[in-house]
């Protein structure tokens, strides 16, 4: 997942700042060596990603360079640096799904949604990510949308599925 900086509008949005609760947690953790990751986990859980504005605030509060925070959040796949879509699509790229055409599904989704894997569509509705085996290889190729499994997929099925979620 690439760290983009297109979040300027979000950064200005008032709600992308540390909550009192998060500030308290940082205060508690900042003198404990090795606690940066646990702080970033809390932030990711709260916002669904690590907004740049919040990363900057955290850097200042913890006395840690911003570069270090980005080193961590771009290293671990758990963290994301851009806001996830309203619906999160995860395409399985485990061995079975890969062999059965997982990449074709990603290609089709990228075309349908106009964003790359690892990104969020411009309207903020969907984000696409590739994941490892989700444990239902018998249904390969599979993807999940907001955790719901869709199996035995062909690229031509995807437009309908996307349209259905768009309405909900």
């Amino acid at each position: 997942m690439s760290a983009t900086l297109d979040a300027t509008a979000e950064e200005q949005a008032a709600d992308l700042v540390l909550t009192q609760n998060l500030k308290g947690f940082i205060e508690e953790k900042k003198s404990v060596p090795g606690s940066l990751i646990s702080v970033l986990h809390r932030i990711q859980n709260h916002f669904g990603f690590v907004p740049r504005s919040v990363a900057k605030e955290t850097a200042a509060l913890m006395g840690v360079p911003l570069a270090k925070i980005y080193g961590v959040i771009t290293f671990y796949h758990y963290f994301r640096t851009d806001k996830p879509g309203r619906h999160e699509i995860a395409v399985c790229m485990g061995t079975a799904c890969y062999l059965k055409g997982g990449q074709d599904l990603i290609d089709e989704l990228e075309t349908l949604l106009g964003c790359s894997c690892g990104e969020t569509s411009a309207d903020g509705e969907f984000s696409i990510s590739a994941v490892r085996c989700i444990g239902c290889c018998g249904l390969a190729p599979v993807m999940t949308v907001d955790g719901e499994v869709h199996g035995n997929l062909k690229p031509e099925d995807l437009a309908g599925i996307v349209a259905k979620y768009r309405e909900t």
Binding site: S2, A55, P65, L66, A67, K68, T74
Partner: protein, 583 residues
């Protein structure tokens, strides 16, 4: 001292406890091939080229990061080790562009040298390039991540030696790249343009933004009157590009080379350094004797340091000397005083500074005060490396050049001026003049050796007219925090400051170790270059800036007195707090 005994290729060798296999091997005349390793930096073990065999270990170990143990039996080369190293190099080359001929490091690239030494003739692995964009957003440094071999030197230098944290590893695995946080551009990052990344990069992934073409064009332009000036540290390092030992003093040949390149007048930044001392020295005397502004006074000749202070220590701006750096002073005078004396049209004068520094390229554009002559005071700042290329491209046989002298008006210098090239030198030069001015007598001993050398922070107390002057000297940006944090703490506690005068240079060793100097600097080379600086000083007839006859004439004919109205217009600048991240 604890020593341990090991054997390398069957030869017994005694090393200090804690020594690495790499260091031990040197003792038996083996330079194990390396790429990521650098003597300035802790071992990082990123590249895997330095693998060796150790008896009893079933895998090959990296010589750079393996401490020697008692009785260790090490083999540094055999056909298998050779093949593994060759494969590692081929793997690195498989993700590295093949455009050596157009590369900024052509001819002095560490990867190219390894490929040559190992006789790489084929590509067993398919080429996989990433098409990452080039970042040329600053006027000083270009980052081309496509060429990066992920050795990590630049990021570690930026973080640990410089404490700037502009660069970091982003991503992981094959998508790892070196970039500023959140992929902002370098000009939006905390980068201070010191260029230590470029001086430490083994390949062409980070390098100075070259202004050679502009200089060639200006030299050809009949409407331009090109003048050059050379910084103190250039004269003791440029020889390395022409086969001299580091530290060889080549001032006379440099003057000759610049004239033969086509410069109409050759000035010396050392003259500007003497002038800086008069301005900054009087600033100090004002503050020290009249409490006109806060102490400590902090030097401001280093543009990377200026940038760092504006970002990281904006609360110290009132302590910062407002004196411009020496080459900026010479630039301003080359477009005012020089044409006034010679009748030249200032519009036609084109000033080129030859600097050991990449940040000077940024400094010449940094604020309105850099246009004090009514136009850009210094038009181009070239690094030592760029000048060496111009001399080579022109075919000038540098080694056989006669020694020439600088042009008058802005060319003479005292020993003090040349000291600016080494850490502690600005302070030493200032102390010479400050003491003479305050006591009204010339000094018997002009050398202040306590503040010389490569210790990261040096401090001393000197007595001037019965009062102690407490000075501190820091170099290598990461060393400044310990000094300035003491000053901050004293201020917050309401206690007197721990120092009266502080000198800071961003690069290790000062300008002799600058980011624009010939490649390959390490502490040994920095010390050799500094020796050349001290030889230049010791061999000077005048040792103190205020004794420089051309500086005296400048004040008499043009400026009036130090800190006077004209000085303030032309020779002083202002500072502004800046955000660490521009966005």
């Amino acid at each position: 001292m604890d020593t341990i005994l090991c054997s390398i290729n069957g030869i017994p060798v005694q090393v200090e406890k804690g020594a690495t296999v790499l260091e031990a091997a040197r003792k038996v005349q083996v330079n194990v091939p390396t790429l990521c390793n650098h003597p300035d930096l802790p071992p990082w073990a990123a590249c895997g080229i330095c693998v060796v065999k150790v008896e009893g270990s079933n895998k090959m170990l990296r010589a750079c990061a393996t401490p020697v143990e008692e009785g260790m039996r090490i083999l540094t080369h055999d056909p298998e080790i050779y093949r593994v190293r060759k494969t590692v190099i081929q793997l690195i080359l498989s993700t590295h562009p093949n455009d050596c001929l157009q590369c900024s490091r052509n001819g002095n690239c560490e990867l190219q040298r390894l490929a040559a030494d190992f006789g790489i003739r084929e590509h067993p692995f398919p080429q996989r390039l990433r098409n990452l964009p080039v970042d040329d957003s600053t006027p000083a440094i270009v980052l081309n991540p496509e060429k990066c071999v992920q050795c990590g030197r630049c990021a570690i230098v930026c973080q640990q030696l410089q404490n700037v944290w502009a660069l970091e590893f982003l991503g992981r695995g094959e998508s790892t790249r070196i970039a500023p946080a959140a992929d902002v551009r370098l000009d939006e990052s905390p980068c201070i343009k010191c260029g230590q990344c470029s001086a430490h990069c083994p390949v062409g992934a980070i390098y100075e933004k070259s202004d050679n073409e502009e200089v060639w064009a200006a030299l050809q332009d009949p409407d331009k009157h090109c003048v050059a000036q050379i910084a103190p540290a250039v004269r003791v390092a440029i020889g390395e590009a022409f086969g001299y030992e580091p530290g060889e003093l080549l001032t006379g040949k440099l003057y000759a080379a610049l004239r033969r390149l086509g410069f109409k007048a050759v000035f010396d930044t050392n003259f500007g350094a003497d002038l800086t001392i008069l301005e900054e020295g009087h600033e100090f005397i004002e503050r020290f004797t009249n409490n006109s502004a806060p102490l400590p006074l902090i030097t401001s000749c280093c543009p990377a340091w200026v940038d760092y202070l504006e970002k990281y220590y904006p609360d110290m701006i009132p302590n910062f000397s407002t004196a411009k750096s020496p080459h900026a002073m010479v630039g301003a005078l080359a477009k005012t005083y020089y044409p006034q004396k010679t009748g030249l049209d200032p519009e036609k004068i084109f000033v080129v500074s030859i600097m050991p520094c990449t940040a000077k390229k940024f400094e010449i554009l940094r604020s309105r005060e850099m246009y004090s002559s009514g136009r850009q005071d210094v038009d181009i700042s070239l690094t030592t490396r760029e000048l060496a290329r111009m001399i080579k491209a022109s075919g000038i046989d540098f080694r056989r050049l006669p020694d020439e002298t600088a042009d008058s008006l802005l060319g003479a210098y005292a020993g003090a001026g040349t000291l600016f090239g080494a850490t502690g030198g600005v302070m030493e030069a200032a102390l010479r003049t400050v003491q003479s001015v305050l006591t009204g007598q010339e000094l018997e001993t002009v050398e202040f050796t306590d503040i010389r050398g490569l210790d990261g922070v040096k401090s001393a107390t000197y007595t001037v007219t019965g009062k102690p002057v407490r000075v501190a000297v820091a170099h290598g940006m990461a060393n400044i925090a310990s000094v300035l944090d003491q000053v901050r703490a004293a201020r917050e506690n309401g206690s007197p400051p721990p120092y009266d005068f502080i000198e800071v240079m961003a690069c290790r060793g000062g300008c002799v170790g600058g980011g624009g100097q010939p490649y390959g600097a390490n502490d040994e080379i920095r010390a050799m270059r500094a020796k050349g600086i001290y030889r230049d000083d010791a061999g000077s007839k005048k040792r103190c800036s205020h004794q420089n006859p051309e500086v005296q004439r400048l004040y008499g004919d043009f400026l009036g007195k130090p800190l006077g109205k004209k000085s303030h217009e032309l020779l002083h600048t202002k500072y502004t707090p800046r955000p660490i991240y521009q966005r």
